[in-house]
Symmetry: C2
Subunit: 590 residues, 2 copies
Amino acid sequence: MSDLQRTQTCGQLRKADAGDEVTLSGWVDTRRDHGGVIFIDLRDRYGKTQIVFNPEHNAETHEAASVLRTEYVISVKGKVEERPEGMANPDLDTGEIDVMVDKLEILNSSETTPFEITGDTEVSTELRLKYRYLDLRRPQMQKYLTSRHKVYQITRRYFDSNDFVEIETPFLTKSTPEGARDYLVPSRINRGQFYALPQSPQLFKQILMVSGFDRYFQIVKCFRDEDLRAQRQPEFTQVDLEMSFVREDDVINMIEGLMVEIFKEVLGKEISAPFPRLSYHDAMNLYGCDAPDLRFEMTIKEITDIGAKSDFKVFKSVAESGGQIRGINAVGCASLSRKNIDELTSFVNQFGAKGLAWFKVDENGLTSQIAKFFNAELQKEIIERLNAAPGDLLLFVADKESVASQTLSQLRLNIAKSNGMINEEEFNLSWVVDFPLFEYNEEMDRNDSLHHPFTSPHPDDLKHLEDRPLDVRARAYDLVLNGVELGGGSIRIHSQEVQKKIFNLLNIDDATAQERFGFLLEALKYGAPPHGGIALGLDRMVTLLLGLDDIREVIAFPKTQKATCLMVDAPSDVDEKQLRDLGLSLLKPD
Amino acid sequence: MSDLQRTQTCGQLRKADAGDEVTLSGWVDTRRDHGGVIFIDLRDRYGKTQIVFNPEHNAETHEAASVLRTEYVISVKGKVEERPEGMANPDLDTGEIDVMVDKLEILNSSETTPFEITGDTEVSTELRLKYRYLDLRRPQMQKYLTSRHKVYQITRRYFDSNDFVEIETPFLTKSTPEGARDYLVPSRINRGQFYALPQSPQLFKQILMVSGFDRYFQIVKCFRDEDLRAQRQPEFTQVDLEMSFVREDDVINMIEGLMVEIFKEVLGKEISAPFPRLSYHDAMNLYGCDAPDLRFEMTIKEITDIGAKSDFKVFKSVAESGGQIRGINAVGCASLSRKNIDELTSFVNQFGAKGLAWFKVDENGLTSQIAKFFNAELQKEIIERLNAAPGDLLLFVADKESVASQTLSQLRLNIAKSNGMINEEEFNLSWVVDFPLFEYNEEMDRNDSLHHPFTSPHPDDLKHLEDRPLDVRARAYDLVLNGVELGGGSIRIHSQEVQKKIFNLLNIDDATAQERFGFLLEALKYGAPPHGGIALGLDRMVTLLLGLDDIREVIAFPKTQKATCLMVDAPSDVDEKQLRDLGLSLLKPD
């Protein structure tokens, strides 16, 4: 048992504390020996303090300190002394004092760590994950997770003060047929049956609204059995809420208030609400995607009409076959080399575009291999349509709408990033609204819900559910930050009749609807109030807030593909008996 | 889309609001028709407001209101009017006003509910669970879950203000061999391998201490694949924390501060800290269990020495064979009938006790069938030992120690409950400390950890780890509220050497230790600080706080044995293809 009990943290002592006797505990961050005196920066989560072992002050303790190495854990008792004139370290909060050590207790030793804890040297991701406990000891990672902690507290305080009730929804839920990406959990008691881990508490929170809870929130883990990617983890954290007796604006205002709080308290940044709203239609037309990065302009323009009049066969045939010719103006990018443009062509190929048509703009009009197919009049029209000026580079994709949109959306981002057109300090928040209720699934030749089947259609469009379902708008809204969807929500269906009709339109017959969602349909019979809500991805939000790219930087124990002996959260083998108890056996590998 | 947007809740309006135009939304709680006027109590989470449809005020709205039935969801717009002299309802916060309705919008209808929402009539648990969304609509259930909400917020605020960092630990973790009660989650990516859902974040929080986080907390779901019982759910919620550079007192003080806050803010009750501490040894001796209910005295006394001197063969033989004769004084219970005492005998049989010896105390000494085997001197000794007086009933069990303890512990509770000796208003918090590190597992003839293998032995007892392991004390502590263990914790092992030795003493060989806990042993090499923590059962805590018996009252969606169509959290069948994708097949039933 430790004899020394710490009285202060390593980030706490100031000039005013000089003369006090203190006890500090922490890790040996750096050690310097100078003129027979040992200087150690002692580190804990709160900061660093320089402690001094001076043989003239205490020979025994100085002697004991000789064994100290980096990452040893120690407690020291000593006197706070103001540093001599000119010796203060302005980079350290505690830089005006030293602690002259009288007593040392070594709490634990440390082998040489596989990477430096405070070093800025690049360490491979693999090594960092393998030794996650050392990686997390780095001040930067501590800052990330402490910021995440702040987001939790701010969020809950905010909802609590707005009369929301925090309610835990279950993790072991009913597996719904066709939930192909659910994680399944075999039940020991009901052998041969399975729970599913929730992809979202959607239905539970709707049930809570039927229960009259009025305002529900939760910060909750959700699960999706998908491949790992840098931006996606199979378990992820969601800020989840639902409100009764509300319209779109109520949910949107509530979330804007939250974002204002979070930016103020975590980053000290004032952001202004309301955030701009963009219709889904405009987002797709102007930016080619439903979560556009609005930190830069470069909107997409359509020139199908101009292309049709040209002599360029590719454009003419696309225009005639009902496709689109759309493009962007990469302002000031006429200096890009032929090689650069070839790279852009390869880039667009991966999104299904067969080619990339381009023009450079100079004083005389357009130049490029295909400029000859466009007469002066058409060139002028193109220049006007794209607001182009000499020095600009115009890039076009001619394809069916979905390919043109996706390609140009990515191309726009690519050019903005590689040409420094994005202000990385900016946080651009916006809403995308007026989504369609359904999207056509080409592969299956059917309409699917764009969000989920509980999303309320716009009441003005109810009459077109049967005859023009793809024109029906949903009462849905997505929050977008710097081109990343932070989350989405909607006003839900609270009428049993409408809910049944939507299931039917989704080709879910009554029996299947009853099997999968019977409890919901039943609940809607007993006075379900109008309600709506939203869910925000917390991992993503914190990642973006901190200006990071990789979501794993803000997750203490991220998942890895490979099990390593040091990671405790990887899957592993289990013995046959355990499986048998669950009524299961392993299939032989094919 | 609703035309009326609520301006106030149903719990808000007061006399001072008279004259205002308001819009309320909620459920029709009760409807009374009186003199051609319709009076409705409109209910939401915040309260009830009487709204009035008067045909003289607005004939059209009155007509529209005629269809309203209980649990219809409506919005009404109208004017707040002070109720006439003598008509105020003092039972209602809003009882001084009515709202005279001008406009009515019916948001949803309701079928007749299977039970009354506000009725105090008894409803079967089964029906309540089947229609959980209606059960949760009852004001009582709303109060329970709102209190639970408060406990969350108070707890997090408390830890936040004490510099704890909230960090999420993973749900999909590595399955450790022999973790027989883990829920397993088959991995789709690593076919044939499994995650396990955590029974506690124990190892993760220890890793976080190695990472220098210093103070960690989380309110977190944990999982145990066990049979359902009223007091146990397979998923349960834990208040989890861990601290570095601490001793037992630091953790204990921190939790006492939390409990003081919770009692003050949830119940408005001042409780005083520090809570009494009882050694494990005393708890077992005096109360027969390690989580004693201290709201009443009735301590257990041992009379093995007296029994040995008596002529009662049962006592003599137990005393001679190393067993114990222990008993309690049921003060004032001499009036219990022979039948009552027979019932107590059957009661103790279920805990393995072969019989129950009893004496009634009167002015002349002890009376009972066996009193004749005890001479006057021995009778006097017994009376003195048990502090008995005329009118008392003395009850003894003669058996081996473990049976005597368990039996008397239960008997003590039984008598106290059935004789009104427990003050149900009292909250009695205490700590049990100085647990043994190991307990002997008779069945397997080996020593097991009493808590878990990461618990630190008491440093004074380290030297006896090998020769007298069962005498080694653990640095563990349990918090007990009214005889229920709220949670437990310990100072952990931070030395790799000690940890290895404990594994060895638990018959975990080096290879197995490496396989199961290699990452921990490895982490202990790199400067692990001394640390300790605790975990409290939140479901239990809230249940007890609210004076309830059944833990399911404070869980929004509790688990049930049987899947009913309305419960969304029961296991269900999955199709074969899903299983195949996971590399699994169902075993044929035996």
